[in-house]
Subunit: 306 residues, 2 copies
């Protein structure tokens, strides 16, 4: 079937509404901003940002639809033959930074590119990943089961996309993974447009199934200054990844998009403490030593049976 | 005269000691860390970092001496003919993040590269710049006078280097300058090695003359939550510049240097607030509208006569 960007756009707009409504319910106090922006070139941006909520310090759920006469270099690294062609792109991107250090930060992104006019090339990209500060094994196992479920009706993709996620969200300058992963894919056109779109919809729909139960389970976990400060320090790693390495951020910055939307993913508060070394045997040491090491979470001894 | 990297190294080590002693005096409480690091390849790094002082929230004064078999790409952007040659480099780099939003953040860097073995190419680079949050005209004029003094015995360089500073410390994604500038130079070998080294020494020596009086003048200025929060937000711009754009940071990250030294320049605390717009006519609006617009500060109507 011929690719339909309108169909993908409608899917992403629907997903954005569902996610915004769910996050507002989880927060219980603040609402998302709702100002839309249309561009003279024909594109539009619907940023939805919640700040200073009861349970969410900052969340951004952005929808954008853009078009251009020449696909930027930052989008053609892996497809040099597409360089300079006209394109349309539509994407949804979200990030949640809760107040409570026991609730992980999460990120999801889904995007679709349609490149060229005659026999256009098209591909999807996206995924979701989790960045905990004080993780619980059962939460991470649950997260990865949900990620596997997102893939399960569409092929045997989970292990491949989990590996790609571990590889992508990696701070080479720290030799450290950003979080406990999830799934990540790019240049995706497997099985044709309908199958690819269904798969992307499945990823989008499974995201809330994966995140909301973890959020609700940990929302009343008490925390103190120690956990707060450690979360702020780890959020520094997040900012480093986004500004130094993330292709999406670099694409947004390089193409002159509205900068407040591009950088809405940055954590609301960050701390850079020089030469922090966690105490041996502490939960802070466990984060990097145990959780940020890629592993097969679905073969965990305590939980593989259920 | 033949370039002597040992002479430059000794100069930078001396400057580091003087600056560390002066900043400790200004702080009045904390001392700088003093652990040195030697590399198996023959390089060394002497990071000096002060955190959580009385008046200084974080300051880093780093000396490094490094060598390698092949000059990295990040150092040869402007000199492709040097690519792949063996090199030695020595540098001092500093940043000061005071607690008080009325005291500006400042940065200085001086570096020397010696490239190749037979008839080596050499060049200096560096400069200093100022990033205020709530500036006073007289401080900025004083700063630029000191910058001009740094250049005055060595040629008529100030205007040229002031312009380069404005151009370099520019956040293109925000269409915003990082601060009120100062001087910046690169690929510097004017007048030969002795003249260049003397000029670089002059820049290094004038830095404290330029910064200390502003620090001391503003250190007892009272501030509240509003100024604090605005400083944290503006520090976000600083982090954006360093991680997205700064050549020094990208060089350090790309060459696999000790990451805690490379990123020691990052602000201790940062805030990213979505879509902040300062009130019209407020001091916060004046920062971007008045101060972060490059101008000739030495032709200021009130002060050009002295």
């Amino acid at each position: 079937m011929r690719p339909s960007i309108d169909q993908v756009r409608d899917l992403f707009i629907t997903l954005q509404k569902e996610i915004v409504a769910t996050l507002e319910r989880l927060d219980g106090k603040e609402q998302f901003s709702s100002k839309d922006i249309t561009y003279p070139s024909g594109g539009m941006s619907c940023p939805r940002v919640l700040q200073g909520g009861r349970r969410i310090e900052k969340a951004a759920v952005l929808f954008t639809h853009s078009m251009g006469d020449s696909l930027p270099d930052t989008a053609t690294d892996r497809n040099p033959k597409l360089k300079g062609l006209s394109f349309q792109a539509t994407a949804i991107s979200l990030i949640v930074h809760p107040w409570n250090p026991y609730i992980p930060t999460t990120h999801m992104n889904l995007r679709f590119f349609l490149v060229g006019q005659v026999n256009p090339t098209w591909y999807f990209g996206g995924g979701f990943d989790l960045t905990p500060y004080y993780p619980f094994d059962e939460d991470i196992v649950f997260w990865h089961k949900s990620a596997r479920d997102a893939c399960s009706q569409h092929g045997d993709f989970y292990e491949e996309l989990k590996k790609q996620c571990d590889e992508y969200f990696y701070l080479s300058h720290r030799a450290e993974h950003r979080g406990v992963g999830g799934i990540f894919f790019d240049d995706w056109c497997r099985g044709g447009f309908d199958a690819s779109r269904d798969f992307v919809e499945s990823v989008g729909r499974h995201f809330l199934n994966a995140y909301v139960p973890i959020f609700e389970k940990r929302v009343n976990e008490p925390w103190g200054e120690r956990e707060e400060q450690f979360m702020l320090l780890r959020r520094g790693r997040y900012a480093e990844f986004n500004l130094l390495l993330d292709r999406g951020t670099r694409y947004g910055v390089g193409t002159g998009r509205r900068i407040e939307s591009v950088l809405a993913s940055l954590p609301p508060r960050v701390r850079w403490f020089y030469d922090f070394v966690p105490l041996a045997g502490s939960p802070e040491a466990a984060l990097t030593e145990h959780y940020l090491q890629p592993r097969n979470w679905l073969e965990h001894p305590d939980t593989s049976s259920d």
